[in-house]
Symmetry: C3
Subunit: 209 residues, 3 copies
């Protein structure tokens, strides 16, 4: 219980939980959007709002970090964690935005599949982040990290399969290839960033073991 060393008004754990919560919101809403093929202005705005809220928490973490002398774990880990959680939300927002800009508004079964893996991974990330509060009970955290790693492997495999199929199916429509190739690669990048978060959480556990 490192958190007891911290003054109440400066609780990094609460802020990270909040940030992980916005990441989970973004991932869940993304799954909704792509499953329903509902990409109107309201949906885009709602995703933008989530991204903006996540951004504010990230800034709050950095600001507090800059004003705080004693931190619950290494300063650079706090910085990196805040940045990476922010990147998860940013990337999900970017994909949503791109679907709109590229006019890819119909349901795509590949992206539905990716959205499910992303939601699971971001959920596991949230579990890992929450678990950092109690660094002596690491089993759940480590399980969550293992899940994030395994979902990243699945994502790699999915992206490769989808790209191979895309190059076949759309070989007469290069513009479509350009658009979906970027979307699938972005979707896999979300899982990469989740894995980076899992690695830093594992690092923090090792250091505080």
């Amino acid at each position: 219980m490192l958190s007891r060393f911290l003054p109440k008004d400066c609780n990094f754990f609460d802020l990270f939980d909040k940030q992980a919560k916005y990441a989970a919101d973004a991932a869940a809403y993304f799954q909704d959007l792509v499953t329903q093929g509902k990409l109107d202005e309201i949906a885009i705005q709602k995703m933008k709002d989530i991204e903006h809220q996540g951004d504010e928490v990230a800034h709050e973490i950095i600001n507090r970090l800059n004003k705080t002398f004693i931190t619950p774990f290494d300063r650079e880990d706090i910085h990196f964690l805040a940045k990476e959680l922010d990147d998860i939300i940013d990337m999900i927002h970017t994909i949503t935005n791109r679907l709109k800009v590229y006019k890819l508004e119909k349901v795509d079964k590949n992206l539905v599949e990716f959205a499910e893996v992303i939601r699971k991974s971001v959920q596991a990330v949230g579990c890992a982040v929450r678990g950092m509060r109690n660094m002596k009970q690491t089993k759940d955290v480590l399980n969550a990290c293992v899940e994030v790693n395994s979902l990243e492997n699945i994502g790699d495999f999915m992206r490769d399969k989808m790209l191979a199929e895309l190059f076949e199916a759309a070989k007469n429509d290069p513009i479509l290839v350009i658009k979906w190739k970027e979307i699938y690669q972005d979707a896999e990048t979300v899982l990469d960033v989740c894995e980076d978060v899992a690695h830093v959480v594992e690092s923090i556990l090792v250091k505080n073991a």
Copy 2:
């Protein structure tokens, strides 16, 4: 006035000003080039020279950092600032080079628009960097940072609009889509990096407040 604590021959502020100046030179010259559609070998070489000069200042900052015990602000911030200012110049150089390699030598009104926003943003970055010398008079610095953030938002919007139009206008010319899509995304990346610089400058101010 933190700068008085530093020996004259080791002034990081002077070096950062110099680096910001090269970034401003690159942005101004880029605006010239794309406005006049003048991308001959001489222009490419001149941009390469600016990039090379910027590179040398970046290396000098890192070298001095490695040999200096007392720094005017956190070592990692100095490192990050030098790297990001270098990235601004690199990215502008990369775009210029790509225009040549991709034979996109005619004036493009979108890129002219981007070049203007980039020039303004790099100028505001220079203002923020110069302002760090006097960390008690933060108003101008903070205003410059706000401007950089706002120009980044404008850039996001511009890129989205341009990409949507490009996919319509060039739907029968996928090669052209490939080329301009990368250029517009690169142009927006310059503004992202400027925003990163603004964030680190704000961080430095908070820590030294």
Copy 3:
């Protein structure tokens, strides 16, 4: 000889040598593959195995770093070096995988040329990394770093030339442009990462001079 200050079971230099060795293995095997146009399942699996072994060394370095109080050089440099060496291997693995996914299985003379430059650069990186053991005999290390920088410049030039030719030669086959453009840019990225490694090694030398 900083290495004598370290307990035998905690030798970062040995681990970095091991990591650099896997990077060299990846680069050499990559050259074999693209020279022979032999991209079957066995080849893909072998490259994946190298990547996996490299990954394990990277994790071991980070784990030991997290458990070690006294390190032979700055903690952040150890972290960065492990990450960048890992990125070299990852990137070579990614390109190999992409060639398979994109069905680019025939010998391409451009990629053969790149593979040779990559092999040389990764070899020089290995030489620089090995040389860090003895920070007083820096001549070989600095020579290796100069070679890495010069190979990166050559790579930039090669990529530009290859892209310009590709846009001409395949102007009626945009799908082919999409595929090879990404491969050539990835190949050049390997050289960029090698250059980053060279820079951090130079930094470490300066700090410990």
